[in-house]
Amino acid sequence: MASSKDEPFLVVEDLKVHFPVTAGLLGRQVGSIKAVDGVSFALKRGETFSLVGESGCGKSTTALSVLRMNRPTAGRIIFDGTEISALEGAALRPFRRRIQMVYQDPFGSLNPRASVRDIIGEPLVVHGLASSRAAYEARIAELMGLVGLLPDMASRYPHEFSGGQRQRIGIARALALDPDLLILDEPVSALDVSIQAQVVNLLMDLQERLGLTYLFIAHDLSVVRHISDRIGVMYLGRIVEVADRDALFGDPRHPYTQALLAAVPTPDPEREAARPHTIIAGEVPSVRNPPPGCRFHPRCPNAFAPCRTDGPELRALEGSRLAACHLYDAAHTRPST
């Protein structure tokens, strides 16, 4: 029943995740935090799709929904043709194996009292896949080899490893169950640039060899550009632009995407001193009472009348690019300036 190459492998459709805000002794609900508020995107098999956007805009919450580790308020998640958002318990189990996560923090996410062997092997034990001691050991050696760890490191403990090595342990563990989809939430942000480069190269090699699909979340836009096929830009619980890598970085369309790219610091003090350090203007928007119309309009340098009242839909522009912005709507004539 595997999907064909062109069918989307993962579809997230109008996903909403709202957290209740309560008040008083009885915990009466007085509002909600609309962490994810109508997010849709699709991943092709074997591609790397990245989510970027402002801190707190709902990237991790979206990822946790795909992993079925939180309860979506609305929307559907379809993985390889099955609507996993409708499954519970035993029916969900096979999908849990096929979707794995690598976490940001290579220090906090590994049990300090377990050996590397036990850390990598734990998912095998949990899912009852260790048929014999010998098969278990062989699989662990294979996984360690895959991520470039030496077999004799298996009996060491996490604190004996560098950050980059610990991140490799996390990746080996995520690969133990032969997943099809890896979700990587800030997998390299704790690493120095040289080790970060090693881990990025490793992820690209593994994808080629194992045909993995990646949902990648990161703030470092040069890493995102390097590793991604396509990118979705989020702002305040919504996707505002989706485009192929070169289109997005070469010609960003949504004013938020433009502001984001303009804020990337370049490793060149002369250039940095010479250019203006624009900071997005305006108040940080409330997640409990998001601005009406386009959520970015209070901070947008291009906002005009319709932006204040109508929320723009995510629409196809040229090629495979999507953007949610009235500047590109035929229905609204742009004011002449």
């Binding site: 402002e54 942000s189 990025v200 890598r245 610091p265």
Partner: protein, 322 residues
Amino acid sequence: MSGHLLSIEDLSVTFRSERGPVRAVHSVSLHVDEGETLAIVGESGSGKSVTALSILRLIGDAGRIDRGRILFDGRDLLTLDKAGIRSIRGDRISMIFQEPMSSLNPVLTVGKQVAEPIRLHRGKSWAQAMEDAAELLERVAIPDARERLGDYPHQFSGGMRQRVMIAMALACQPRLIIADEPTTALDVTVQAQILHLLKELTRELRSALILITHDLGVVARYADRVAVMYAGRVVETAPARALYARPSHPYTLGLMASIPGLDAPAGTRLPTIRGQPPDLANLPEGCPFVPRCPHARAICSSAVPPLEPVGPDHLRACYGFE
């Protein structure tokens, strides 16, 4: 005597481990002046955090400061008694820790955690301290800050927790802020806002900032001077512009070459520094970078090269190469 706000002189720190003593920091000397931002960069495990933690004597029971002095406002912090160092922490020197989740208390509300140092060091009432906390959280761009004072850390995103740590560090208007990877969980626009805020404050209060980061773009934009660490030692230090214009230590050169710039070709394999990170319990003789250095010569394994000037205010620890 030095007119520096903080100066670290010949600091060495060792940890006990099953495989023998680990010298995490080796003869490190650094200083930072009023109004200045010093960046510390270097490999994972090179001793950046341990150096920073030593300033506030927070290295824990397994570690020992073997040698050195840390002068702050004319006093050696390493000789203060417990009460003395505690009165400085979070007040005149504050630290933004590398791991927000393990540094925040999961069962205390965000508001209380930010208000606590204000109450402790400034003797304000809870109500006043909470008011200050709300303002601080607004300054670090937490949306709905006032309404979210009662939230617990797990209800905040990764980057929001990091900003809570920053608000706590700013609470008492410190003379020195030590920020250990303060913006790893932040997008570039919020990062710019936060670093801009930290810079403003150091200017306003004539204080200083020690910024530990892996992001060489951030260093280029915000640092006045840079120290590069490798295997527990400072291997190069220079004004930021000089370091980028003329990186002089082979490790610094390797680091600069690994940056996946926004104008480099995408989708290809990135250059890395060959070989493995050093094992601190088992360092080679001489320069610790020898096993990975493309320019190593016989002399490099004879003794650790001293830091020597290669330009104005620019030092490197290397016997030189073509």
